[in-house]
């Protein structure tokens, strides 16, 4: 029986623009099970990216609680939140957000600098995830020498390398053609099915959303409906393949 990894209760987010207060999320209640693959959908300005940012701990709610793995991240200070993100969250961005001066290998190694792993352990771990995303032969390539799909796979490897419990993906196929996007989604499915990762993905694309196990719709900051789970959450099978990395900074 899967347990809830994310518990969101009474979550609201309001932005202030001068004297004006703009509500973006209103009284959100949501639970995400461990090992689930959830798609957040909705029109522009519906608050889906804001919700993703709040779940990822890169933004703070106005009211409400966000429990991830039993920790209310809304109460954490900036330093503690950074440490929490380093240990528990992997990020996949629409535009990959790779460091252009670092090779694919170095980009993937970057988050491991925040762990206590030795240089040799880091390299072994990077090799492992490079194989997982089928990019071992591109390890020494710089981002501008890779295609969009390859860059996104490097970003996925970077998100995966610290073995986080949660992976957040903001429009991961938004900058890719349909075929490459399909490949990326297949890879994300693999992370859920084979490594037991929990993925929360924001997307505009119904086809991409259909690959998730659960689709949550937002409209004007409110959860409007939910497509029920398409399949049961699989048993965790390959998590132990990645040795634990303790966050030190």
């Amino acid at each position: 029986m899967a347990t809830a990894l994310i518990r969101i209760h009474g979550l609201s987010k309001t932005y202030r623009r001068g004297e004006q207060e703009i509500p973006v999320l209103l009284d959100i209640e949501l639970e995400v099970m461990a090992g689930d693959f959830v798609a957040l959908m909705g029109p522009s300005g519906s608050g889906k990216s804001t919700l993703l940012n709040l779940i990822a701990g890169i933004d703070k709610p106005t009211t409400g609680t966000i429990e991830v793995g039993g920790i209310d991240i809304a109460t954490l200070g900036e330093g503690a939140l950074a440490d929490w993100r380093a240990e528990h969250v992997g990020f996949i961005f629409q535009f990959y957000n790779l460091m252009p001066v670092l090779t694919a290998f170095e980009n993937i190694e970057l988050p491991l600098l925040l762990t206590s792993l030795s240089s040799r352990e880091r390299k072994a771990r990077v090799q492992q995830v490079l194989e997982l995303v089928s990019l071992s032969d591109r390890a020494d390539h710089y981002p501008n020498e890779l295609s969009g799909g390859q860059q996104q796979r490097v970003a996925i490897a970077r998100a995966l390398v610290t073995d986080p419990t949660l992976i957040v993906a903001d429009e991961p196929t938004g900058d890719l053609d349909r075929h490459t996007g399909e490949d990326v989604l297949t890879l994300l499915e693999q992370l859920v099915d084979e490594l037991g990762k929990t993925i929360v993905m924001v997307t505009h694309d119904p086809k991409a959303a259909s690959r998730a196990r659960r689709v949550v719709h937002l409209e004007k900051g409110v959860l409007v409906d939910e497509v029920p789970e398409v399949s049961a959450v699989p048993a965790v099978s390959a998590v132990s393949e990645l040795p634990a990395a303790k966050v030190t900074a």
Binding site: I58, G79, V89, F93, Q94, N97, V101, E106, P111, L114
Partner: protein, 385 residues
Amino acid sequence: MFIFRLLLKNAFRHPLRTLLTIVGLVVAVVAFGMLRTIVDAWYAGAEASSSTRLITRSATSLTVPLPLAYAERLRAVDGVDGISWSNWFGGVYVSERNFFPQFAVDPQSYLPLYPEFVVKADDRVAWERDRKGVIVGRKLADKFGWQVGDQIPLRGTIYPGTWSFTLRGIYDGADAGTDTNQMLMHWAYLNETMRARSGRRADQVGVFIVGIRDPNNAALVSQRIDAQFRNSLAETLTETEKAFQLGFVAMSEAILVALQAVSFIVIVIIMAVMANTMTMTARERLAEYATLKALGFPPEFVVRLLFGESLFIALLGGVLGLLLTLPLAALFAGATGTLFPVFRVSGATMGLQLAVALVVGAVAAAWPAWKMSRINIVNGLRHVA
């Protein structure tokens, strides 16, 4: 190591921009070093002065001579260890452009007071025996290619007529700060000649050089000397050799202040240029820094990256500037000839050059580093799109 590699790669992400920034830094560091060296050269006489020497001159003016007869009374002053005297000769060698200092001195009493002038024993004896003989410093001899035995004609200005001297020796400096750009001739020869030409100018000396036993008593001995001659026809003014030399420097103080101001203005300008470069760099990488923070890197990491990059570029510029200053200073010294008796880039100046470069690097990074450490991750990430 990873971080250093990242710093290096970031520093040369825009090679042309980094190169131009480094060129600017090199120019600023060289300019700073050269201007400081010129100022140092001005003060070289004062810096090389001995704390055991006092200079007694006329209280009226340096151009008014004192009677030689004062020597015996000076020698009797308590605390005085030795007495000598000198006259500024002010001759012209071939052309006014060949200016160098010439002093008429009493070799037997003068050289013991100036142990920093190192003369070979044979040369010294030869000079003392030849009243028309002179000794010159190494730098001066090298400049004009003089050899011992050469005849050196001088056209007198203060002491009119054409004077011909025989070079009897070349002295070296005990250290790099010693002035080896002077000519020393016999005061007795000058005095005899003046006695023959115009008796009233005989037995007059420009300044007395007073050797003292204890540098701590300099003020007291100076007071005693001046008290001896108070209310006489030729009152004296006695001061340390350093104060005497600084009196000359003070005459051109406005120029020195201007030079120092320019050297600092150059630094402020390059500081502004580099700060602009680093601000531009940081703004371009806004999304990258936001990504690093999202991945869990603390704000201090971003600060370290920016400071590291800025300091690396500044240090590179500083070291290149420093290395370029040395040959340029040698070229400048050669081009200016004997204008500066001592023209060398001091250790302190080299240290200051590097320190200035690092300060420029640190100041340039301060604002963008502070700004980037505080960026909101969500806003920073939006910068990509």
